[in-house]
Every structure is written in C-alpha cells, then in structure tokens.
Symmetry: D2
Subunit: 476 residues, 4 copies
Amino acid sequence: MTTEAEGYDHFHDECGVFGVFNHPEAANLTYLGLYAQQHRGQESAGIVSTDGHNFNTHRGIGLVADIFKKSEIKALVGKHSIGHVRYSTSGESGLRNCQPFSYEYAHGGIAMCHNGNIVNAPELRSELEQRGSIFQSTSDTEVLIHLVARSNATSMKERLAEAVDKLYGGFSLLVLGEERLVGIRDRHGIRPLVLGQIDDAWVLASETCAFDLIGATFVRDIEPGEMVVIDNNGIESIALFPPSKPNFCVFEYIYFARPDSTLEGVNVYQSRYQIGVELAKEAPAEADLVIPVPDSGVPPAMGYAEATGIPFQMGLIRNHYVGRTFIEPKQSIRNFGVKLKLNPNRKLIEGKRVVLVDDSIVRGTTSRKIVEMVRAAGAKEIHMRISSPPTKHSCFYGVDTPDANELMANKMSVDEMCQAIGADSLAFVSFDGLYRAVGKPSEMHCDACFSGNYPVPVEKKRSPQMSLLRIHNRGS
Amino acid sequence: MTTEAEGYDHFHDECGVFGVFNHPEAANLTYLGLYAQQHRGQESAGIVSTDGHNFNTHRGIGLVADIFKKSEIKALVGKHSIGHVRYSTSGESGLRNCQPFSYEYAHGGIAMCHNGNIVNAPELRSELEQRGSIFQSTSDTEVLIHLVARSNATSMKERLAEAVDKLYGGFSLLVLGEERLVGIRDRHGIRPLVLGQIDDAWVLASETCAFDLIGATFVRDIEPGEMVVIDNNGIESIALFPPSKPNFCVFEYIYFARPDSTLEGVNVYQSRYQIGVELAKEAPAEADLVIPVPDSGVPPAMGYAEATGIPFQMGLIRNHYVGRTFIEPKQSIRNFGVKLKLNPNRKLIEGKRVVLVDDSIVRGTTSRKIVEMVRAAGAKEIHMRISSPPTKHSCFYGVDTPDANELMANKMSVDEMCQAIGADSLAFVSFDGLYRAVGKPSEMHCDACFSGNYPVPVEKKRSPQMSLLRIHNRGS
Amino acid sequence: MTTEAEGYDHFHDECGVFGVFNHPEAANLTYLGLYAQQHRGQESAGIVSTDGHNFNTHRGIGLVADIFKKSEIKALVGKHSIGHVRYSTSGESGLRNCQPFSYEYAHGGIAMCHNGNIVNAPELRSELEQRGSIFQSTSDTEVLIHLVARSNATSMKERLAEAVDKLYGGFSLLVLGEERLVGIRDRHGIRPLVLGQIDDAWVLASETCAFDLIGATFVRDIEPGEMVVIDNNGIESIALFPPSKPNFCVFEYIYFARPDSTLEGVNVYQSRYQIGVELAKEAPAEADLVIPVPDSGVPPAMGYAEATGIPFQMGLIRNHYVGRTFIEPKQSIRNFGVKLKLNPNRKLIEGKRVVLVDDSIVRGTTSRKIVEMVRAAGAKEIHMRISSPPTKHSCFYGVDTPDANELMANKMSVDEMCQAIGADSLAFVSFDGLYRAVGKPSEMHCDACFSGNYPVPVEKKRSPQMSLLRIHNRGS
Amino acid sequence: MTTEAEGYDHFHDECGVFGVFNHPEAANLTYLGLYAQQHRGQESAGIVSTDGHNFNTHRGIGLVADIFKKSEIKALVGKHSIGHVRYSTSGESGLRNCQPFSYEYAHGGIAMCHNGNIVNAPELRSELEQRGSIFQSTSDTEVLIHLVARSNATSMKERLAEAVDKLYGGFSLLVLGEERLVGIRDRHGIRPLVLGQIDDAWVLASETCAFDLIGATFVRDIEPGEMVVIDNNGIESIALFPPSKPNFCVFEYIYFARPDSTLEGVNVYQSRYQIGVELAKEAPAEADLVIPVPDSGVPPAMGYAEATGIPFQMGLIRNHYVGRTFIEPKQSIRNFGVKLKLNPNRKLIEGKRVVLVDDSIVRGTTSRKIVEMVRAAGAKEIHMRISSPPTKHSCFYGVDTPDANELMANKMSVDEMCQAIGADSLAFVSFDGLYRAVGKPSEMHCDACFSGNYPVPVEKKRSPQMSLLRIHNRGS
C-alpha cells in the first residue's frame, strides 16, 4: 500500500501571484516572489514576461526552485512579468491549467493569472460557448480572457472593466499587456493583493513576505473592487464598483498566509499568537505541557502557554524531507501517514497531561491519528485546542475544501468530535475570540467556512467543468 | 563549433496523420500507424482518443517510440482515436503547436489534426480576432476549430463543411468528435489521405505503409474535396466541392513518401526506379559505377544502372545512429557535417568514374560536400544525376522549403550549379521524364516547386504568425 | 551571480546508517529508516539487500524519497538489508563514493557502509596498493573491505575483527554478509549506533528516531569497541578491544541528531533545551524578546526564555521550500543568501531588544548576515547567545568542518567575534554549562572541535585521496 | 504483450574500442571514433581521458550521441583518451560493467577497455579472490587490472606483458596510463585492432571507418600478439609471443564490421559482394527478383544479382526509427516483430519468384517470419540464400551467440531448415566460396562458429560470473 505523508487534511489556498512592471530583472524578481509564496501552491508554477512586444512563457509541474533554472530565467526577457504558483484542486494533471495563460487577440498579446475563484464562471463559459468560443482548459482565466477579447471597448482598461463587471467571486487578478501591468481585486476583497516598490519598478503580490525577500517596500493593500493600471505614465487607480464593505478571508490569518506577512494591516503571526491567548481564556486546561502541531499550531500554542502559564514544548518533531508517497509495510505501522511527517518525543510527553494546539479540524482523520500517536507516546491526558472556529462549510472563493458533508464539524457536535478524535477535551476558539485576536470586526471578513455566511451568493455547489478533456504533455 | 549531421538540405513534409474509428485498441493502432509514418515528421507526436464522452490526449517532443510507453497507450482509452507526427517548420519550440488539438465547445469535445497548410489562415485568423477570438498557437488547426465553433449549422458535418469552404491550401484533415471520425482532403487533393479497414474498424492514414504494419486492408484514396464521415452507421462520403482536376504533390513520389507506399495508384518505389531509367535515357554518362546517395537516391540509382548497364554499388555508407548535434574539432574536419552521416568506401571508388544519384538539390551545400568527399576518396570523374527537376520555388502547401532565394536552382543555370557543386557533369530529370516515370500526366499533379505553377493562388509569401508568444512547458 | 541558500555555515554530520536482519520487508524498512535519518545526509543514498545469495543494490544522488520508488524497493529482494545516507564532504561528484559498497570476494558477497572517518585510511591504502590492491573510490570503506578480503581468518567475524583492529578513527560500521548482519562501533564510541527490534527482526540505526517511524523497539546503544554479529542463531556481542572510556561526540546533542532521538541515554531535545537554561544563567541579557534561529536554535531559545522570563517569539520565519541555487539579481539584495531561508517578522522585532539564539558560529558569515538582517528589521539591540562553546578546531571523525583557519573562533576572541558579527553582546555556553545540560561528564565525550582534545591522535590534517579519478556515470 | 522489433536473431559483436595519444581534442576524437563504431555496441559507452595526472571518466547507458554532450566532452580534459562502446551479452543491467574501467594502484592511475573475451577469466578470478582480491564487476577487464596491479615488474609495459601472458582468448585491449597509451591484440589476432595517425597524434580503433570520420590516416593493422606502446618518445612495437598463424574472425567480414571498413587488408563491402557472386555460382535459382534483407544482405544480394543476371530490387523496406519495445495489439498482427522493422513492397513482389539474401540464420525464427511475410506479399516462390556457412557453434571470443542447442543449423540439415523456415529452397555459401570471396585462406581465420575449430581451447561453456551482485545506480 502506498501512503501519502499527511498534511492534506487542511483547507488549501489555491494560488499565489506576483507581478513586476519596469525592472531590468523582472523575471528573476518574479521567480523570487513566487519562491517566497511557494506555501500558496506547490503543484505548478509559471512566469510570463514581455519586452513590450513578445511574450515569453515558462511553466512547469513542481516547485519553483526546480522549474526555473538559470537558462529559463534568462530566456524570460523583458522588463515586465507576471507569475503564478498553483495548488491543484482536483485530479486534473498536466500543464493545461497551469497559469499564467498567454494569448494573442485582436489587440496583441495578453497574459493573465489569478488567485481565487470566479463563482459564475460555468454560466459565463456556457454563454461564451453558445457564441462560438472554444476552450482548452478548465481555468476561470480562460473565461475572463474570452470576455476581454469579445469586448468592443477601445482601451485595455475599459475591456477589463467591462469583463470584470460580469464576474462574481473571490479573486485577485494580474493582467500583463504589452506595455501595461494591471492588478484587480474582486469587489469584496476576499483574496489578498498587495502593492510594493523596488528601484523604479512597481510590484504586486499576494503577500508581503514576497516583498521582504526581494527588498521591495510595501506600499499598500489593493482595495476591494480596485483596478490598478501600471504603465510608463505611472500608476492609476480605478474603482470598478461603488464602495462596499470588505470581506477579507479570515482563514488567511489562521492558516494560509505566511506568519511573517502583514495583510490588511494585520500581522499574521501576531494574530495567530493572540488567537492562542484568547483560546486560553475561553478554554483553559489543567495540564503540564502545551505542544503545538507544527508549523501553523506553533504561534497559538505559544500564546496559549503564555496566557495559561503552562510550559510550552516542541513535543512533536516535524520531518522536513517529506516526499510524495511511501510504501507502507504489509505489517502495517500504526498512524504511518502521520508518522512520516511528525514524531512525538516520548521523553517529553511520557506521563504528562498535554494541551495539543492545532489550527483546524477538517475531516478529523489526521487529528485522530495525532491524538492516538501522542497517547501512544505516553501522554496521560490530551486536551485539543483549535485556533479556528469549527469548519462547517465549503469555500467557493478559491480555497480547496472537501465537500461539506466530509467536514467533521458539519456532522458532529464538539463533544462528538472530541470523542471521535479520542481527546480528553476539545475546544475551538469562538468567533468573538477570533476577531478580538485579529483586532478587526467580523463584518470586515469572510468567514463563510465557519458561519455559512457567503458574501457572494453561491446558488449550488460549483460543478467541475470540462472533464471531457484529459491532457498529458511531455517535454523533450 | 557544434555541427548538425547533414540531411536538412531537403524539402521536408511537415506531417503525417492517422485515425481509427471503432477499434478496441484504437490508441495502440494509432501509435503503430504513426510509427510507420515517422519519416513524415520527427519533432513531435500526439494522440487523442475518445470513449464517446471524454477525450484523452498525450503529446510529446521526440520520436513516437519514445513518447508513447505502455502506460501512456493504456491511458488513451476509447475506441476512436486520431494521431499526428510533426516536422517543425520554424524555430518555435514547445508543445503548444503540437497536434492533435482538442477543445470543448458548445457541442461537446472535438479534436483535430492535419497534414498540410491553409494558405489563407492569416487572413481568417485576423478576421476571427476582430470578432473576439483568442489564439494560443500558430497552428492553422486553431483557425479551423474557431470557424467550426462559430458556425450556426446544426450538425458537425455541416459545421465542418461550412468551415472548410472558407479554406484555401493543401491539407488533409482528421477530425474526431464524440461519436464520429471525419477525414477531409482539400479540393485539389494536394496532400495524400488513404482509407483502410481492419477488423470492424475504419482507418485513415497519410500513407498506405501505415496500413501494412497493422495489417489493415487498403480501401481507396480519399478524393480531392471529399469529406468522409465515419460513425456507428457506417461511412458517408460527401463531395464538398464540384469535381475538379486533382493536383497531387509529385514530390511525394520523389522524396517524401516511404518507398513501400502506394499513393493515387502509383507505387512510390517503382516511380523512383523509373525516374532513374528515364534519367539514364536523358542524361547518360561514361562511367564505371553508379552510386546512390542513400536512402532516397537508391531506387533511381538502380534504375539508372539498369538502363545504362553501368554497375551499381553502395559506395556511400550511411551511419544509422545519427544524433542531433556534434562538436566539430577545432582543427576542422573536411565535410564534417556530411561525414557524420555518410562515408565513401575508398576501395570501391578509387580511380573510378562515378555517377552519383541524388533526389534533389536544394541549397546545394550538401551536394557540394558530397562531391568533394567522393572526389577525396579517389573518384576520377563525378557525374551528378538528380531524380527531380530543379527546385526553383517554395512550397506553400505544407512542405518546409527555404525561401526561393536560397534555392540554388533559382539563382543558377544547370551549368553554373554543376560548377558550384564541383561535379564533372550534372543533369536533372525532365518534366516529361518525371511524369513518364510516374505514369500519369503532369496536369494531375502539383509541381509548383519546380514549375512555379501554384494550383492555389499564393498572393505573397506566408508570413510567420503570432511570433508574440514563445512558450516552454515542462512536464513533471 | 548564483547564490546558495545559506545553511552551509554549520558543521555537518557526514552520514547515517540503517540495517535490518530477518524481515520480509527488509528493504522497505531500510528505506524508511533512511528517510527518518535524512537530516544526517542529503546528497546521496543507497540500499543493498540480500536473499542469502544474491546482493541487490540501488544507489542514487538526491533525497531518499526521490531515489527509491516502488519498483526500486521491490527489486531489493531479500530479508536482510543495509542502507546509507551521505552528506558529501568534498567536491567529488558522482556515484562512485556512494555507499553501501558491495563486492564479491573469496567468501562470497559482502556489502558495507559506515558513518564516520577512518583516520589512518590513507596509510592503510598506500600499504594495500604496495601489495597490489586497486581502488575505485576514495571511500574508507574500500580500504576496509580490502583488509577483510586479504585476511586469512576463517570466519567473517574474525576477518572483520582483524581488519577493524588496524583502524583508527571514529566510525560506526554496518556489514552485510550472505547470512549475517554485523554492526561495529569504533573503540571510543565517537559516532552513534543503536540496536532495536521489530517483529522477528533486529535493526541497527544511527539514531533512535529511525526506530520510532517504523515502530521498532529501542534495545540499547552499541558499546564503544563492540561488534554485534546477527545471524539465524541470534545476536552475539564481541568486545573487539579492552574496555576504555567512551568519547561520544557532544555535537550530536548540540546540532547533528534529530531532537526526538535519544542517544547514550540522553534525549537530544531536552539537552538542547537545558543548554538554553544554562546559557541564561551564564549570560543573561536585558531584552524584550528571545528569538531562535530556526530550527536547531529553537529548544535552547525556549530554555533561555524560560530561565530568564523574557518572552519567546518566532521572529525569524523559515522558508521550507529551499532549493539548491538561486540567481541573485544584479542590483544585489542585502543578505540575499540568508533571506532565501529566513525572514524576520518586522512587526514583532521593530524597536525591540532581542536575544538571538543559535547553535554555533562556524565561519561567522551567516551570523553576521542574520544580525544585520534582524537589525534592518528594526531591532534596537541584538544579544547573540550560542548553545555551544566556540568551535575552534576541525573534526577528523566523520564530520564536515572547514579548515581550522576558517573558523572564526580560532582567530578571534569572543569580543572580536561580537564586533565582527555586529551584535551588541555575544556569549557561548561554557563547557561546564554544556555538560550540566547534557547531564553526563565531559570525560565521556569527544569535544575536540571546542577543546582540541582529540581522543584519536591525528598527526596531520587528512589529505584528500585519489583525486586522480573523476568519474561521472549516467543512468539510462 | 510487449514485442521487440526483431534484429536480435543475429550474432552480435560485443564491443568497439578507440584510443588517442597526444591530441589537444583527444576526448572529442574518441567520441567521434566511438560514434563511427556504434554498430559494434549500442548498450553503453564510456570515455576516460587523462592530462598525465588526473583521469576523467564519463560513462552512460545508451547511444554515444546521447551520452556525450558538449559539457561532458569538455570535462574530459587531457591529451590522451580511450573509449568503448558495448553490446551487452546478458541481462546484467547497470553501469558497473560499463567500460573503460579506471583505477588507482601503486603506480598511479590506469584505465582499460577491450573488445573480446578472456576465456580463462573465471579461473584467474578465482585465483585472485583466493589471494584477497575483491571484485565489483563481472568484466574480464577487472581481472586483468588485478593481474597488472599484483605484478612486481618495474615498468608498465612489463607489468602488462606479464599479465597478458596469463590470458587466453580473443581480445583487443587498450590501456591508458598517465603518459602512455597501449594497444594489445591477443596472440591469434581474433578481434581487429588498427593503428592510425592524425596531426601529431596516434589513434587506435577496432575498425578503419572510425579513422575515416575524423580524417585520420590508416597506418596498419596491429599484429596478432603485438603490444604497441605509445608515449612521448613515439611508438614501440613489442611481440608478446612467438609468431604464429593468425586466426582473424571471418564473421567480421560477413556481418559485424561496417562495410566501408578495411580489415586485415580486406574491404568488408567487397568481400560481402563477392560472397554473393560465389553464392550465385554455387546455388543459382530460377527467379524474377533478388531481394536483400537489409542492411547486411544488400551487398551479397547485389553480387548474386550481378552474377545471375536476375534483377536486384529493394523489395523489403527498413524502418529506420525502430524503438526498443512495442505493444502488440491483442488481436495479434502476423509477424509483428519483423514488421516493425521491415515491410515488403507488395507491388514489386506480387506474383514473382524471389531470391531472398540474408547474412545468416541463427535461431531461424526471424527467417521464418520474413519468408512468411514475403509470401503473404504475393511471392510465388522464395529461394533463400545465406552469405555465410551454417552457424552451428557458439563463439567464446567476444561475440554474443545463443547456446549451440538454440542454433537451428546445429539441430537440422539444410533441407530441414528450408522446410522449417518455409522457403522453396535454401542454400548457404560454402567454406570454399566464402574464402574465395574474402581472398585469403581459411587457415588465417577463426570460423569456429561454422566449423567448430576453436583456435583457443574452450574446455566447457563459459559460465556467467558473479551473478551475486546486481547493481543499479541512478545519476542526479
């Protein structure tokens, strides 16, 4: 039996984006910007650059540092560039859905990539097909570019505005024209997009940690519903929609974003730490040790330990060399999948009452194995504390989530969950605690996965598109 | 200096196609059909199969036998399949232009591939872009599929007929629908397309040699301007155009096709041998030996030897393990590029008067080196005989040819050419001799590369399209 | 300029070993045992298995999870197996030095691998060459196997004893015979080797964390100078040398071993944490935050924070997707190499007095960059605390260390070092503090890299051998 | 079912060698020399170069043109070089047996490769193992180098002479020392070895065609039992044994060597052609066409046609793009394996009486399929003519042959063979005819595979050695 190292029992952000306008080393900066955002997508990556006329693309399956070698970076000539990392949401393999996409249309070359999801893409696609459009991928981006190409507007920004006006969902979008870099955030600002500067260039990224690596200065978050158009005349901000309440994804703070990023004015690490502090107040425990499930459990575990005064210890050691699959011996090893990634330190744990802090419980399978493994290492009591409210609903705005009926919290009470995972107690942070930790009100966020309040209406579950085509390409 | 083994100084057919309808091992037969037609294109290959709903694609850079392993063939499920081998005409690398193409449109999935060239593709593309179409490749096929998708006709065959009616050029086209295989030949029948049967399946191929390998029975050549539609009800033949004079590419007989193929009723090997016989009558020589430039020079050299009574010998030995590039030593080796492929047998040649028989002279560079090399091996006299008329014009119907101004015969008289290549005499077969050998009249063929008589008007040299996009994908 | 992500400015353990006797899935367990010990060597890995007659080998360059796929594991048939991971110490590329080595000699097949270094290998090699031995690698293992093959003793254990008697150095060695697994530890017990059991099989490993993954039970550490011979009759322990004081490598506790391993009765994590506690006592600081340099700085930083009461925060975020090399932009990025791996969280650090805890300072280059980077992130004061004494000497017992004259502590006082790295204060744990933390006396350890007291005499620096041969093999 | 394209039903030469002394581009010339001799071995290739001190090796699995790219050639620095191509004789995969071998021993670096077989290698190996030698490969070369290393002689040429004196078999050997290139031919001169010059360098090769490619001048064949030692003082010839009758392998003329090579004064192509002439005299046929089985059947078929006056035609077309394996459709294709490589041209063959000329019949399976296929293409009569005597015995001098009991001619009379392959008549050239065609007496050749007269005694069938070790290495 082939086993995958666990880690899949999480929600997963689908993508990260990065763009540069007017830098002599645009492709290299984009490469580094993607590398810093690798946590947002590990399946594939791509970069398109332009010298104002030709568009050069390199895309591949795998990690950024493997896909782009010196020669590939060198071939991506031009002073403007966009790039994308992607976490696949389905079994579709192959490069066909790998972004950025580049096309030629009546107004020259154009390339696009985005982080998020266009909720009404299937309807738009169907309409476009009725009007004679052909599709090669299942990506929302292909829908958008058809809309742009069919627009009769005379400027690129008008064509984009016209197209984006038709879109519903949560998305942050980068568009590269021949002499123009455009960044667009959906009207609710669900997914992040930040603006920075380096030398004489403007840069756009999903997270600020990308700016830190290349030494760019953070300027500001792009506003919900804002389109920034960067060209040789400078930067122009266009409000595509009347101002409305933002709904930034709160899960970015809990799990998706890198802890050293600061999004919408909130430092991710600090918000995580504070969630631990709130959790300690809401759900204290009589225990000897606080142990995080690494890595995202570390800051809330520290906050929890600080607030309760219980010693904090790294009682679960993470293996950093995790590969794709492993062959499990026939004489099966207990909790093999989890063990490939985590090992409890028996010397620390034995005979102790332990608080385990993790960021979320999705299907519950991993949590159950971790509890079992920690108990097998000698823990006397295990008190599970979760740094998010129970995840009861799927996300339709660019996050890979199981069907709602696979979510443990959707089917069970907290008590039932506690029993199911085998813990001695279980508690989740409350909505109030969460937003106190974040430091901003609930109304400014999307927490649909916890609350079921979807800022963009989702009539029915988005169905997979174009399963007709299964492509595999092989390079030379 | 890195040197390529010579062999490029030829016209090159761009593609070969193969299709199967209703065979349990459709993809495997297609794979073998492509393998047998590998001489029509060595740069890339692809197969699309369908089970009536899903379309499965595997494409790659390289040779058929390398691209398709057992697992790839197995993944190409379904009883219908089309495939393609391609010889690249330009420097565009990457898989983006690799056929077959598959898309989803309003009527479901569709895949296409073709051998040849649509002369008015740039105009059609430009019109389509004005109407909002977007393009990912430079292939004519993408133009055609846009036309099909934009057709309002209610059946696939009508949509195809409507689209093909707009096309000018020389092309043989395969289309795979969900329950339908279609084969179309342009109105002049410039490129070949043959129909066969195996078990309960119909097969379509560029050449009959593909049928021989899989044990299929040859049925007939598809007619110029004919569309055959194969579905579960059988095969239907539709004349897309009023009957007109065919113009089959005569160079297929001279060089492109495999000698064991029979096209338009003419066996390729026999026509080549007969050209040698005619050449002997038209341009005899006082000589001791007839030596072919392998491999396509072999049959005409044998015919020449037979007709003149001069002994035939394999005085040039071909290296069958030719790789892509070689590093030439700094202390340069004379005629290194040619020597990597051919070696003269000095023991045979020394002191002899030699007739060298080759199929064509394109730029003349290879011919000059061969003559020089044979002379260095001791030949006393070298009489060059060419089994085609002088190639003075470019082809615009799917054959890779240099610009006309690079063609030696376009710039020089036969005498000047003889001097330029360093031979003692030089002769080309005449038009009359050529068609006597083929056994069918000149009027039934396209010989534009020799005569300049283009059956489909070509207003100006076809310009390269969409040089904007340069893509490189990398598989996992 | 191509830059490597930093991390090289450490001492590096050269190898890890794993062996199994009598398990139906011997190769798979070995594979998992190597995977769990990947931190001991990331350059290459190999496994040899035997069914009692044939010896099967698979070795490769790269990570364990990449080298061994299902088919490779399957081909490694047999119930006995040994494996090896290797961190290269020099520029020698290629597989030739990749362990285990397998040979045929007068008594059948034999395979070997080891962790450590045979100090007198060059002398032994030279003697062997005088007697007609030929060498294909630069590995000490090849020397040993020649000694075994030339022994006249009648049993394998006698041949091994005779050979090992000639060796000086620090090494833990696994030998696989046709029906025999042997584990040997040098007379000083410098490198670790532990014994365990799983089902009906015995297992040997460098570290206990390998047992945890596969669910084996830890039995005991192999003794200094002990040879254990495992065959179908059970396990036999042979003392190769008269009992003497052990000298276990103290750096295993500080940095090499995985924190969840327990070696010589000491839990690695706990000893690291306690070093932090001792360091706090010895070198307290007026500060607002304790920040570890991840990952090995984490436990001592926690101990330091606990003991001083200064809050502990993860102020440096580690990028887990570090690749081999990166192209630094021409407009150079400050501290680029370090930044590829670590990013300071400005929001935490700004305006704070910071204690930075790291495990060692080798050349000092990385420390200087980290200090500079943390200061650039706004730290008001930086107090560097190191969880080892100053590393002043090279190691000759299987650890990759720079020449002594490249070691910062060899050339500078602590004050000078403090100034050189730009910190506001710098302190190292004392010898006493270190051993108090470990809980065992100094005399039982090798701390030559700190003290210069070499338990095995090293006359002169070991010179690189057999630089004559540079091999590159290429698989199919 | 996976099928291999036929072609294996031949005897196969195991190797080709090439060496250069004193050329600034030694490795590149060696690479080209191996490329020209690729027909002597397609499984693996290797080159070792030396600058007088370091030895650089690159070896790989596959074809020369794939294994050596610019960077590999560049890394093979030094003015002296040897190289090797190899056709594997057994299932042993991996690089371990890939030549040349390089070692370090008491007198510095040394590298070796050879074409042929040392008949008494197993005995020598066993003796060496008793004396403490260890072996990593199954190659005879490793035996030889152990003998050299154990010699007490003071010069390399004496050590080599002493070692070679112990060897029996058929082999041509190249040895590269730090400042010395040595070529040795066994005392019977069974395998070829030729000497040439280019610029200021000496070159050694298996065949003269290697000289033709690089523009080297052929000097002479190395004599049976001769050792040539080339160093900065020039070339020295040493007779290792008293003069005796040569026994050059006659199969080199029939099949192994390239037709454009000249060995022992005989041009290979001409000898093949003459065999056809002799065969025509000995075994004429009433027929309409002479058709060769390409490629080695071409010259004798031409000779046969010339002598009988029956027209010669290329009625079997060879596919030049043959891959390793193919999946045969379940509804099996008749003679699939042969068809992948050869296709009969029905238009030529239909209704004709055909003489088929091939070089040998080994197991007879391929011959049967070819006859069947040609008959299915419409041949009225098939007269098989073979350009060698019946192959009744195995070769033990470096040629890959089946066990004698698998040889059709060993078990059947010619009449029975004729019936078994389904031909209308069958004839082999006689011994007399063969040697008349070669132009030199039988006594000067080894024809053991036909006659059973082994010039070097072979006590029993050579058994496979060291099946103990199965190695697979994987490059980075």
